[in-house]
């Protein structure tokens, strides 16, 4: 098995095994979406209107919840030291670990989103565009989270600081993600412009975030 594949598979396996990652993220997402109608009352029209926003905000927060684990566990137990002496350049390592976060956390969150949409009275006709927009946007979510995770390496209780660093970077994803799904925007082209912008955001993050994360990791290993 190639070093890159070995690292990717190990990270996905650890995310499933250690439980905390996926279980907590999905559970958190579920809770956020369930308590929203309880707080707003049973106005179905209102719920349908704000459903895309709630689903996106819930997804971003749920993804952030497990973002600290991208590098932190490997840093604490010395694995990152050994990985740094391996055959892969550090930006590639950082990219693979963010990719593993997307595979293990991003995709399950996207798949559960339509089911949660039912709880918010989101029209079933918007489900395909919801899933498409989320699949296009969540790589950016995981890779940007990687920057925050690498910058907060070695800090105690780094979760809040990580959120402060990363949430501002999520603003464009949120804006275009919601506008891709909003059912009240008329016209046949309402999905594609925001969809392509989400793709662009993801591609840019996939290229740039590993470089930033690798620089931060280098600094943390000193």
């Amino acid at each position: 098995m190639s070093p890159a594949l070995a690292l990717l598979i190990r990270d996905v396996k650890l995310a499933w095994r250690e439980g905390g990652a996926i279980g907590v993220a999905l559970g958190f997402y579920l809770i956020v979406v369930i308590i929203t109608p309880l707080g707003l009352g049973p106005d179905l029209n209102l719920l349908a209107r704000i459903a895309p926003g709630i689903l996106w905000i819930g997804l971003l927060l749920a993804a952030l919840l497990s973002a600290g684990r991208i590098f932190d566990n490997d840093y604490e137990d010395g694995t990152l030291d050994v990985i740094a002496t391996g055959p892969l350049p550090l930006p590639v390592v950082a990219g693979l670990k963010c990719l593993a976060h997307w595979l293990a956390t991003g995709i399950p969150l996207v798949l559960i989103a339509p089911i949660l949409g039912l709880l918010l009275n989101l029209p079933i006709g918007t489900f395909p565009s919801l899933v498409l927009a989320m699949l296009a946007g969540t790589p950016a979510v995981s890779f940007l989270a990687g920057i925050g995770a690498s910058l907060t390496l070695g800090l105690r209780r780094s979760g809040l600081l990580l959120a402060l660093l990363v949430v501002p970077l999520y603003v464009p994803i949120l804006i275009f993600g919601v506008s891709a799904v909003t059912p009240y925007v008329a016209g046949p082209n309402s999905l594609w412009p925001p969809f392509f912008i989400l793709c662009a955001l993801s591609l840019a993050s996939i290229v740039l975030a590993p470089l930033a994360a690798a620089a931060a990791i280098r600094n943390a290993l000193r």
Binding site: A6, G78, A84, T85
Partner: protein, 213 residues
Amino acid sequence: MQLPFSVSLRAHDIACQRGGRTLFQGLRFKLAPGEALLVTGPNGAGKTSLLRQIAGLLPLADGQLAATGADSTPLDDTPLAELCHYVAHADAAKSALSVRENLAFWADYLEGGESGLAQALNAFGLNPLADLPAGLLSAGQKRKLALSRLFASPRPIWLLDEPSVSLDAASVTRLDAVIRDHLKAGGIAIVSSHVPLKTKFAHELALGLERAA
């Protein structure tokens, strides 16, 4: 174990700074294939920092570190870090993975392949524990798991930071034998240790003396 090639390691006037304080400077040594270096010194003298510098994790404040091939050709294409196995205080063991999965990952990641995994499992007798989650291992067994990584792929330079901590007497003897075999095969070992090892060290480096004096 066969090494892909043997190297010499030369340190020329290297210095180390941590937090604005100079730990050591003007450090020189030259290790030929098959030679070992014992690094000694009081706590905080910079033993770990020196090993991390050789492993490429810590930048040199000054000086040069270079590995050359057996026929004194420079090894331009391979960075020094990729010639080194670094076994630190932290064991780099994943408690959610079994012993076999831990070593299989290192064998794959460090490009040792199937034979690397088999050798690593045998090196410190971890075969009977192979299917146990690493989280259940004792401190000494975790140490052996970390040391077994040395066999996951053949690399000429071993950097061992207090390798005998929490090992039992039989395992320390085994560690000695393993280091001797590595040297016999033309490898280099740089060991920091407070516990006397039976390995014959060609060179000894005492850090932190100039500050005490």
